[in-house]
Amino acid sequence: MDVRKTYKLFVNGEFVRSESGRAYRPDGMVNVPRGSRKDLRDAVRAARTAFPGWAGRTAMNRGQILYRAAEMLDGRAAQFVELLGGGVRARRELERSVETLVWYAGWTDKLPQVTGTVNPVAGPYFNFTIPEPTGVVAIVAPEGDALSGLVRRLAPVLCGGNVVVALAGESQPLAALTLAEVLATSDLPAGVVNIISGQRKELLPWLSSHMDINAIDTAGCTTDEIKAIEESAAGNVKRVIKLTKDEMSPYLISAFMEMKTVWHPIGV
């Protein structure tokens, strides 16, 4: 007889039940926590606290941690392939997820070199522009591709030094919740990634109106949901990222970055 796993939310580096005590059964069998508004708020607070530390890591260190996540994911390949339904398609999805983490691991220390500039201003000043993470990013994971769907959105956001509150796909959250186990063993500091499962309809309004979330990735949202998100995102001028093109790209990293420009006089 197998020892079954209790699926839990991932908040502040810990595996917790929903404070609401609620659960739902997306596949009719397994109980999954149905996260609440309070769970989201706890996650945002954990993320905000983790932000300076993660953003302050050296680019190389962030790259190593993302690469470590790829190692951990690959090490659990069999488990994930089974979770994703087995077969060629599941294996491909796993490989694609590992590939994504590896690719972005290599971007952490290159993005500032590609998107940063030294600006030749007309005066005796040294002037440069560098990308900095925007802060707490909410990710609404796509419903399809239970694992790679989330990884493809998560990796670029983390790569730039942002912290994340992710909403797992409602219909198949198991892979996303299991991904938390990978992240928890990748030297990712507590709170940098938080993963909540639950009902999108219930949670989206709280996510999009939260005053301490800086940006929201609407990858998994319908057109109507995006409209509602954009309306309430205006409350604190959130960046609403709608890039849906499914490719790995530094432009996707940049969508979650702020450009900072620094001036200093030149003189003796």
Binding site: P120, N127, N236, V237
Partner: protein, 490 residues
């Protein structure tokens, strides 16, 4: 030892007596009544409504401009839509040449533009002459060069224009904000409909003339005047594919909400409450100049103004003494006078807003300092003002005043300075004054703001990206980053 108001006024009288030096205005002809610039020419508006634009220094009417209605906005957007295909397809080097032409024309007509800018908006002529107009021309010159080099700006992409851009700009730097909006949009192959601010439409109308002089193809630039309603009609128009707004955070949020779900691209450059931080090892005299430039430049009508001065406790007293002495030498008065430092407040409404916030500062317990300063009888004026004994919770420390009002707070450690500087929903700019290089970079890293000025303040350049973090908006203007909001990379 602090000097008294009387002593400082005496000092000013003795040392800084200047004869009037007004800029000549005989070379400037302002038409008594304006139409709208649509489809390459000045047209009569469908809306029969006009409203006066006044000189805030004299309250005299300069001209009548149109309060454009729905039909006018629709006509302008359609004219821009009609022009889009051929403008986008025009050979990039030709697009480039039109922008170079505009830049040159701005330079050629710079004196006229400076005078109109000062008369319509109230800013000192030395600022419109030395800052607004040259930077506007430089901005067009910079983006002119990008128009035929876009592929080099975006590695691995073929950038394409978006369509018609609807652009709404504020009254603090009318021609400069117009240039920040129009130059990158046109360089990337878009066409535009621009709405200048209600109180400062005249330099935009001169710009319309310049477009005609440059023989810019009809409809590439359209200018509609009006108030908030006209702006709202413009950004909501279904023919507009890209919205760019510079103005208050309050209106920015309304726009973000209004165009939700429309698929329009949006950039916002909104308010600020910048901290200007002075450490004990800073060169104090330079810092004082930077503080003055940071908050009293353009009467403090600057979104990135250094409106919160954070001084290290150990030097607060000597710094404030120097600062107060410097304030007493600022000359307030006729904006057209070449020696004027502080011009007129842009409008009665803005003056009332400033007065209200200053009253709240006094009521909440801050200590007010204003140098002795005679205000002209007509027009809208506010003396340079400084508050000490300010707590972070006071409205004058939290809200954007957009006037010549500085709130002074103190700190002991660098960490405390960072904490206080970032304790605001805004994140547009910040200033740091210290002689220690490592500390400059340490501070610059921690300021959550889009522009950090170290040992300087309020510097601008077309190659230098500008824009905010947090509720100060998103997107950048200036530099290669300023092209991104106007291109489709998919």
């Amino acid at each position: 030892m602090a000097i008294t108001k009387k002593q400082s006024a005496e000092l000013a009288r003795q040392a800084f007596e200047y004869a009037p030096a007004p800029e000549a205005i005989d070379h400037v002809k302002i038409q008594p009544r304006h139409g709208l610039f649509i489809g390459g020419r000045m047209v009569e508006a469908h809306s029969k409504k006009h409203f006066p634009t006044i000189n805030p220094a004299t309250e005299k009417t300069l001209s009548q401009v149109v309060d454009a209605d729905e039909v006018d906005v629709d006509r302008a957007v359609k004219a821009a839509g009609k022009a889009f295909d051929s403008w986008a397809r025009l050979s990039p080097s030709r697009r480039s040449r039109y922008l170079f032409r505009i830049s040159r024309l701005l330079q050629e007509r710079s004196r006229e533009l400076a005078v109109v800018e000062t008369m319509d908006g109230g800013k000192p002529i030395k600022e419109s002459r030395d800052v607004d107009i040259p930077l506007s021309a430089a901005h067009f010159f910079y983006y002119a060069g990008w128009a035929d080099k876009l592929e080099w700006a975006f590695p691995n992409r073929k950038p394409r224009p978006l369509g018609v851009a609807g652009q709404v700009i504020p009254w603090n730097f009318p021609l400069l904000m117009l240039s920040w909006k129009i130059a990158p949009a046109l360089a990337a192959g878009n066409t535009v409909v621009l709405k200048p601010a209600e109180t400062t439409p005249l330099s935009a109308m001169l710009f319309a003339e310049i477009c005609m002089q440059a023989e810019l193809p009809p409809g590439v630039v359209n200018i509609v005047t009006g108030a908030g309603k006209t702006g709202s009609l413009l950004v909501s128009h279904p023919g507009v594919k890209k919205v760019a707004f510079t103005g208050s955070t309050e209106v920015g949020k309304l726009i973000q909400r209004a165009i939700a779900g429309s698929g329009k691209r949006l950039t916002l450059e909104l308010g600020g409450k910048a901290a200007n931080i002075v450490f004990e090892d800073a060169p104090l005299d330079q810092a004082v100049e930077g503080i003055v430039n940071g908050i009293y430049f353009n009467q403090g009508h600057v979104c990135c103004a250094g409106s919160r001065l954070l001084v290290q406790e150990s030097i607060a007293e000597p710094l404030l003494e120097k600062l107060k002495r410097r304030l007493s030498t600022l000359r307030l008065g006729d904006p057209l006078d070449k020696n004027t430092d502080i011009g007129a407040i842009n409008s009665r409404a803005q003056l009332e807003k400033i007065q209200g916030l200053v009253e709240s500062g006094v009521d909440e317990g801050a200590e007010l300092y204003q140098p002795e300063c005679v205000l002209p009888e007509r027009g809208f004026w506010f003396p340079p003002t400084l508050f000490t004994n300010v707590s972070q919770s006071y409205r004058i420390a939290r809200e954007e005043i957009f006037g010549p009002v500085l709130s002074v707070l103190t700190f002991r450690t660098p960490n405390e300075a960072v904490e206080k500087a970032n304790n605001t929903p805004y994140g547009l700019s910040a200033g740091v004054w210290t002689d220690k290089g490592s500390r400059i970079l340490w501070m610059a890293e921690r300021m959550r703001a889009g522009v950090v000025w170290a040992n300087t303040f309020n510097r601008f350049d077309p190659t230098s990206p500008f824009g905010g973090y947090k509720e100060s908006g998103f997107g950048r203007e200036g530099g290669v980053h300023g092209l991104l909001p106007y291109v489709d990379l998919n």
